[in-house]
């Protein structure tokens, strides 16, 4: 009995050691190794995926590059680790990666039980429905008895189940493991509806044999604020990651782009002067070079540029800004003052 108790005590103590061993060391570790290890998705087009040459592309990938630009003044000082949905949080907890930029939804349990800190949201997503127009349905409320194509394991399946139960509707899930197979099955007519994050639906529709025959229903049934995350324990590193994301949003608010950032250095606007480090202060407060925000905008771009380049209307995904527009344009992107 005594032995068991001691064993439990020792085990829980060592577990605590494992979880808290990193306190305050993340930034130093990152600086001394000279690059950031970022966990990314690896197979979601527009967010994190290598192209045909093996070069990483995407909104999440560019977010990680912005953090590298802030810390090292060089957006290329980042290495990417592709992670599965199961691996992502463990990889962050175990120190295999420094920051997770892998379209992860911020939730209370992840923030607390998993010991993570999510920072500013870099994409507001939500779950929606894609239907064939032949179905003649105008609203998700009319989907009683529908067969629904859905990916397993993620929150998507759970959300759909909740939605149909709340609205007292019957549904038949058709669960398919792989995104591309899911789309093929749907276009082959095996299910009436495909449900997924809205950011994916537009892309799925774009690859349909005849995109005009399909429509996205107006209902968004879940909130998915996708944000980068770091471990508990190093607040300074967390601040840097947070403000690297916010800097891109702030730059768009101030009208600074990667093209005009050099002219903006001469701006008389005190907010711009402070932001770009012409008048010092922000850099020192974060423990970074005063040019940190300038480097982000110069090398990666402001949020609007990054959005349009990876997922915007001129890309294959063709997403509208929607919730991800600046607050001044009716969206949710809002940056606290940089002072």
């Amino acid at each position: 009995m005594k032995f068991t108790k001691t064993l439990v005590l020792v085990l829980s103590l060592s577990l605590m050691l494992v979880s808290f061993a990193y306190a305050g060391k993340d930034l130093d570790a990152v600086k001394s190794k000279g690059f950031i290890q970022a966990g990314v998705n690896g197979s979601v087009f527009g967010f994190g995926m290598p192209d045909a040459k093996g070069v990483w592309k995407g909104l999440d990938v560019d977010t990680a590059r912005a953090i590298a630009a802030a810390i090292f003044g060089d957006a290329s000082k980042v290495k990417f680790t592709p992670l599965t949905a199961q691996q992502r949080f463990t990889a962050l907890q175990s120190g295999e990666i420094d920051v997770l930029t892998r379209n992860a939804t911020r939730t209370l349990s992840r923030e607390t039980q998993l010991g993570l800190n999510f920072v500013a949201v870099n994409y507001y997503d939500g779950q929606g429905f894609l239907i064939s127009k032949k179905l003649g349905v105008k609203s998700a409320k009319e989907l009683d008895g529908a067969t629904v194509c859905v990916l397993p394991g993620t929150t998507t399946e759970q959300n759909a189940a909740d939605y149909f139960r709340t609205n007292k509707m019957a549904w038949k899930p058709v669960v398919i493991e792989n995104t591309s197979e899911l789309a093929k099955t749907f276009f082959a007519g095996r299910c009436d509806v495909l449900t997924s994050d809205a950011s994916q639906l537009a892309g799925t529709r774009a690859i349909a044999p005849n995109p005009k025959e399909y429509a996205i229903l107006p209902e968004i049934i879940s909130k998915e604020p996708l944000a980068p995350a770091v471990r508990h324990g190093d607040d300074q590193f967390r601040d840097i990651v947070d403000f690297s994301v916010l800097a891109m949003i702030n730059a768009e608010e101030l009208g600074i782009t990667s093209k005009n950032v050099d002219e903006m250095l001469k701006s008389k606007n005190p907010a711009i002067q402070r932001f770009l480090g012409v008048s010092a202060g922000n850099g020192k407060a974060l423990g970074l070079d005063e040019k940190w925000a300038y480097n982000i905008i110069k090398q990666v771009g402001n949020y609007g540029e990054v959005f349009e380049r990876n997922v915007g209307v001129n890309t294959k995904l063709g997403l509208e800004r929607g919730l991800n527009a600046l607050w001044t344009n009716g969206g949710l992107m809002y940056s606290p003052p940089f002072k």
Partner: protein
């Protein structure tokens, strides 16, 4: 009298229904009524299936076009492979350095082909392998002779598949033999250890071992110490394959008649000599077919590393298919992959048949 009979004995050709095409058809395809029925059904099915398949695969197909051009055709879009060939085969290997993994793979295949001939199995061949493995490792990793370092996290595609399967098999085989010997050992400690190991590993699926190695294992390591992801997966594959090989080899050991052991004893050979000279050569020969079966499934099992986000050739293909341009052409891509895997597996199994024939000594 005798002359007339001889003249009458001219050679008559057999009835036309017994020889030639018709004869062959009769004996092989229409010998009984149910065989005739089967033949008719199969011919009908083939004539119904094959023309559209040929039309899809060869006539209406595109072989090296853009994704846009593929949208307008009804046939196969094989372009998905050539258009993404670099990423499918080499993954993240940096541009401009592609020759290195290509050369390393060529060396490996060349050496495997060279080693096929049993007359070349000498000590010098072992040295040749060792030197070549060092060269291949250097080519992949770099860091000398002006080749930039390419970390293992960037090793992907076909080189990764070959690396995992080659080392998986080559290290697992001797380990498996040792475990089989250990399981038959008279020393209780060693025997128990081997039994526990073999049964434990065989009791869990490879996927759970891979998950352990990639998700659980890092949490147990002290801070700052990380073991290479590729190495962790490789070790999981080796441990898994070795347990299966051990049981197959044990079957071979049990098949050896007692007389062989007694003959070795009466010659005054010790345990090592008995095993090395008498028992193992015969036992391993008996179990070539099941061993090859296990090695083949080990080769195919390497594709499971997909689930721990290692980019083997299956994963690089899947990533290519996530690109909206190419999402619609998974059939073509998977057919290509199946052909690739089949080529490797068929080469291995036909070589094992040859080896079996060569080693057949009639006892």
């Amino acid at each position: 009298m005798t002359q007339t009979t001889k003249a009458k004995r001219e050679r008559l050709s057999p009835p036309i229904t017994n020889v030639g095409v018709i004869g062959w058809l009769k004996t092989n395809l229409f010998s009984t009524w149910y065989n005739s029925l089967l033949t008719v059904i199969i011919v009908a099915a083939m004539s119904w299936l094959i023309p559209p398949l040929v039309r899809w695969a060869f006539i209406d197909s595109l072989w090296n076009s853009s994704a846009e051009a593929c949208r307008d055709i009804d046939g196969a879009c094989w372009s998905v492979i050539p258009q993404n060939i670099k990423f499918i085969f080499l993954g993240f290997f940096p541009s401009g350095q592609e020759w290195r993994p290509v050369l390393a793979m060529a060396l490996l295949l060349g050496l495997v082909i060279y080693s096929k001939d049993r007359s070349r199995w000498k000590k010098s061949l072992a040295w040749l392998w060792l030197i070549n493995l060092i060269i291949m490792g250097t080519l992949m990793y770099g860091g000398v002779f002006g080749m930039p370092v390419v970390e293992t996290s960037q090793w992907s595609g076909l080189p990764l598949t070959l690396l995992l399967s080659f080392f998986g098999m080559v290290v697992a085989y001797p380990l498996g033999v040792l475990l089989a010997l250990g399981r038959r050992s008279k020393m209780p400690a060693i025997k128990t250890l081997c039994v526990v190991y073999i049964e434990m590993i065989r009791g869990v699926p490879l996927i759970s071992l891979l998950f352990m190695s990639s998700i659980m294992f890092p949490l147990f390591l002290p801070e700052g110490i990380t073991i290479d992801k590729v190495l962790r997966a490789l070790i999981a594959i080796i441990l898994f394959t070795a347990a299966y090989i051990a049981e197959v080899v044990r079957g071979g050991l049990q098949a050896m008649p007692r007389g062989q052991y007694e003959a070795a004893d009466s010659l005054g050979l010790n345990y090592n000599q008995t095993m090395r000279l008498i028992i193992l050569p015969q036992a391993l020969k008996i179990v070539i077919p099941p061993t090859v079966g296990i090695l083949l499934s080990a080769f195919k099992d390497t594709s499971l590393v997909v689930i721990i986000a290692l980019y083997d050739v299956l994963k690089t293909t899947m990533v290519t298919l996530s690109n909206p341009d190419w999402t619609g052409y998974s059939t073509e891509a998977y057919i290509f992959l199946a052909t690739l895997y089949f080529t490797f597996c068929y080469a291995m199994s036909s070589y094992s048949r040859k080896l079996e024939k060569d080693l057949h000594t009639g006892h």
